[in-house]
């Protein structure tokens, strides 16, 4: 059950576009910084396959200059 957080850096002047493009993705939460050119992206998927798909989608976004993973938690389901 991968949950990952990233710092996403937009290309110059494209922060708003990046917010919109990221928000359109399923399983992806976006928290833009209020005063700097950086966004937090959290992906929350159910499987490795879903995770790979979203990773591909992220990498295809043109307003995204750089995506740096901050933490990757793989949460086992426990009873």
């Amino acid at each position: 059950m991968p949950i990952k957080s990233y710092l996403a850096h937009p290309h110059n002047g494209q922060k708003e576009t990046l917010i919109q493009e990221l928000s359109a993705l399923k399983n992806c939460e976006v928290i833009p910084a209020e005063n700097k050119e950086v966004l937090i992206v959290v992906t929350d998927t159910d499987s490795k396959a879903e995770e790979d798909i979203i990773k591909e989608q992220l990498e295809a976004i043109t307003s995204l200059k750089l995506l740096a993973m901050v933490s990757g938690f793989n949460t086992p389901i426990k009873n």
């Binding site: 949950i3 990952k4 957080s5 928290i31 910084a33 209020e34 937090i40 933490s71 949460t75 009873n79």
Partner: protein, 775 residues
């Protein structure tokens, strides 16, 4: 315990968000996210949070480590820690991941017929003990040695010193802090007679101006740098970056001033010249609290084996000192330093302004310097002349690089000349150590043996036959590396390496011992502001991995020192710490009791009457002051600090027609030193995958080199090819190049020079001559 999956997921998600927010705060100081998000920070979950100091730099942030099912899975800044107030940098956040690399060493390995064979720890420890005994019998006690680190915990360093200096009777004890902090130590000892900063991190909240002397704090001390930027937002403080290369720090500073390598000596003197010329000297402070001295000049650079130097201090008058400074008017210094007289005057005016509180901060720039002790002295001169010292916000602050360079190497004294209290040369100090160690005083040799570079030279010559290396990677970090790598391979040498991963240093070992890392064992570190911090064992080490402390104890017992190494396995850390504290009894250096360290994020020595001391030498804060005055520099017998007359002298190897560039080496934010841990953390490795050479854009253009192109670097020691970085993270000044040293596949130290400061014996990794060309 049952935890709802939904709760758990949302908890983990909040953790992930918080990690990202804090990482962003390190990279974009002052960054803000919607407050509503911040309120969602995790409060529950089933993680067990335990406090520890971060192990990835000398800032010594307090962190909380989240433990789940016997595994450390998360890290957050400890909001209770006055060091970082809940912040962390990228390395801190990912620190737990460094424990779980796939190739952790879990078994002892012994080299047999050129191949490593797995053995039990017992067998490996037996072999080490018998090999040491045999070497001592055949070649004398000074043929065995130990080389440790500023990442040693306090108990590691303490038992190493007790075994080698107290029991075996050799002063062959050194640590890699010689390569990073030795000039800071000799700077303190010569100027104040006692080691470590007088101030503390809280100075940042009081100072109006910060001058960073060759110190890329944005990358090397990121949390402290964030605190400074935060003060700028709140109070409009000024940050001046005084350096040889444009870095992230320069970009964030209010002013960046670039000087030519080695000329910081001249600039510091020029600042003193201006202070005197403009009548900014705090006369009553200088008269009451300072002496002025000069020492020997033209000391050489230690390039030859068995080089020796002893300074001969001589008292001089203020008038003589003033006359000496005539050679350092800003107009004269402008010509050698490459910075304008106007900029020198600009810096001097802040130091001179009685209404401005000022902090000078430095680390490797002034320390890794063939005149390292001198430049440390010169920065203190500026603060002493103006009386801007030992008061909140007025603070010359020498920062450390490693988590326990202060706590272990400097305080425990794991250097050839040191004892936990004092030095081997002093009879009283030897007597105290011998009493606490329960050894005959004659065991402690009154003569220091080898400092680090000389210790490896002795290994090369064959004077040393046995070396035990713990928590450090000298086969990446020694300057002029090839000579010392070849030395280890010579016939008749026996090398033991204790580490957590394979490294170029384990490659040269005869025995490799798997070590327990950080919170896999119990211990303490001491950070840059005299803060000792405790951590408990939180998880089990993998396989047969064992703490360095216990490895040493096991060997000591096998060598026949059961009486001195009486510690019980369950309580040995407590027993060792309590024994260690006895060396530092008294108001000048008392250490906090263990219960205190367990209950709070550290305590600062001197810890007197249940209180940490934040500002030493100031009677208002420091109970050790006893002269009835406002200040008391009690490290010196007469209670006075020393203003040192130290000239500018050139570097041993300057660029010439054959090798026309300066080569400077250093670190990057993502990696811890040689990268043996952080390169196994995928996020950090991906962010900074390999070494490179930074070039000035004009030089690159002239040579038609773009980022990624191969560049050949050649020095008198060797050559190597690295990819170019042009206008990337850092930008060197024209005719200078910079190479980070974290990449073991691009060993830049094969090219560096093993010249060192004659007083501190610390090598200069920042300056040698190199040829750069498109490969």
């Amino acid at each position: 315990m049952y935890t709802s999956v939904t709760n758990r997921r949302s908890f983990i998600k909040k953790m992930a968000i918080m990690s990202a927010m804090t990482a962003a705060a390190t990279m974009f100081p002052g960054v803000m996210f919607a407050s509503e998000q911040e309120q969602k920070l995790p409060k529950g979950g089933n993680l067990d949070w335990k406090k520890a100091p971060c192990r990835f730099c000398g800032v010594g942030c307090g962190v909380l480590v989240g433990i789940e099912e016997g595994k450390a899975v998360a890290v957050k800044g400890d909001p209770k820690s006055s060091v970082n107030k809940g912040l962390c940098c990228v390395k801190g956040y990912h620190s737990v991941m460094a424990m779980y690399g796939k190739d952790r060493l879990t078994k002892a390995l012994v080299k047999k017929n050129g191949k490593y064979v797995e053995t039990s720890m017992k067998e490996a420890l037996d072999l080490i003990a018998s090999k040491m005994k045999e070497t001592i019998k055949d070649h004398g006690k000074d043929s065995v040695s130990i080389y440790g680190s500023g990442q040693w915990t306090i108990p590691d360093g303490y038992v190493a010193s007790k075994l080698f200096k107290g029991c075996i009777g050799t002063n062959n004890v050194e640590a890699n802090a010689r390569l990073c902090m030795a000039s800071a130590v000799t700077g303190f000892l010569t100027s104040f007679g006692i080691d470590e900063p007088m101030g503390c991190y809280e100075d940042i909240d009081h100072a109006d101006v910060f001058v960073l002397w060759g110190n890329n704090m944005a990358e090397m001390h990121p949390v402290l740098f964030s605190r400074m930027l935060d003060q700028r937002l709140k109070r409009g403080v000024k940050i001046i970056d005084f350096a040889t290369r444009t870095t992230r720090t320069s970009m964030a500073a209010d002013k960046s001033i670039l000087f030519l390598p080695q000329t910081d000596l001249a600039v510091a003197n020029a600042i003193c010249y201006e202070i005197i010329k403009n009548g900014w000297v705090n006369k009553s402070f200088v008269e009451k609290h300072c002496n002025i001295k000069k020492g020997i000049t033209n000391m050489g650079y230690g390039l030859e084996d068995k080089y020796k130097f002893t300074d001969k201090p001589e008292e001089i008058s203020f008038e003589q000192y003033k006359e000496f400074l005539e050679d350092y008017s800003p107009e004269k210094v402008e010509k050698i330093s490459g910075i304008s007289a106007k900029d020198i005057k600009y810096m001097a005016s802040y130091y001179g302004d009685p209404n401005k509180k000022i902090m000078s901060l430095w680390c490797m720039g002034p320390n890794q310097h063939t005149r390292g002790t001198w430049i440390n002295n010169l920065i203190y001169n500026i603060h002493l002349l103006t009386g801007k010292i030992s008061t909140p916000g007025n603070s010359p602050f020498s920062l450390t690089g490693q988590p326990s360079a202060c706590g272990t190497v400097r305080e425990v004294g794991t250097l050839t000349h040191k004892l936990p209290h004092g030095v081997v040369m002093n009879k009283k100090h030897r007597e105290l150590a011998a009493k606490i160690w329960d050894v005959p005083v004659e065991n402690i040799d009154p003569k220091p043996t080898y400092h680090t570079v000389e210790m490896f030279r002795a290994l090369d010559r064959g004077d040393i036959k046995f070396m035990w290396i713990q928590v450090t990677n000298p086969m990446v970090t020694m300057p002029k590396l090839k000579r010392y790598r070849d030395a280890t391979k010579k016939e008749g040498r026996f090398i033991v390496v204790s580490d957590i991963y394979p490294t170029p240093t384990t490659d040269i070992a005869d025995v490799i011992l798997p070590s327990a890392m950080w919170v896999e064992r119990e211990g303490m570190y001491g950070n840059s502001e005299r803060r000792t911090q405790y951590f408990e064992q939180m998880v089990n080490p993998p396989g047969e991995a064992m703490s360095d402390t216990w490895q040493l104890i096991e060997v000591a017992k096998r060598m026949g020192f059961e009486k001195q190494f009486y510690y019980k396995e369950e309580t040995h850390i407590e027993e060792i710490y309590n024994e260690y504290r006895r060396h530092h009894e008294g108001k000048k250096h008392a250490m906090a009791p263990l219960e205190v360290l367990k209950s709070q994020p550290g305590a600062q020595w001197p810890y007197v009457d249940g209180k940490s001391t934040q500002w030493r030498f100031n009677a208002k804060y420091d109970p050790a002051c006893s002269n009835g005055e406002e200040f008391h520099f009690y490290g010196k017998k007469d209670g006075k600090a020393i203003i040192w007359q130290r000239p500018y002298e050139p570097a041993p190897e300057e660029p010439d027609t054959e090798y026309p560039y300066w080569l400077c080496t250093g670190r990057v934010i993502e990696h811890w030193h040689t990268g043996s841990m952080t390169r196994r953390i995928p996020v950090l490795h991906k962010a900074m995958p390999h070494g490179y050479v930074e070039l000035n854009p004009n030089d690159a253009k002239r040579m038609q080199i773009k980022t990624g192109d191969n560049v050949r670097l050649t020095t008198r020691r060797g050559e190597m090819i690295l990819p170019a970085a042009v206008n990337e993270r850092g930008v060197p000044a024209p005719m200078q190049v910079f190479v980070p040293f974290f990449d073991e596949n691009m060993l830049i130290n094969d090219l560096t020079l093993d010249a060192f400061c004659p007083i501190s014996k610390q090598p200069d990794y920042k300056k040698c001559a190199v040829k750069a060309e498109k490969a």
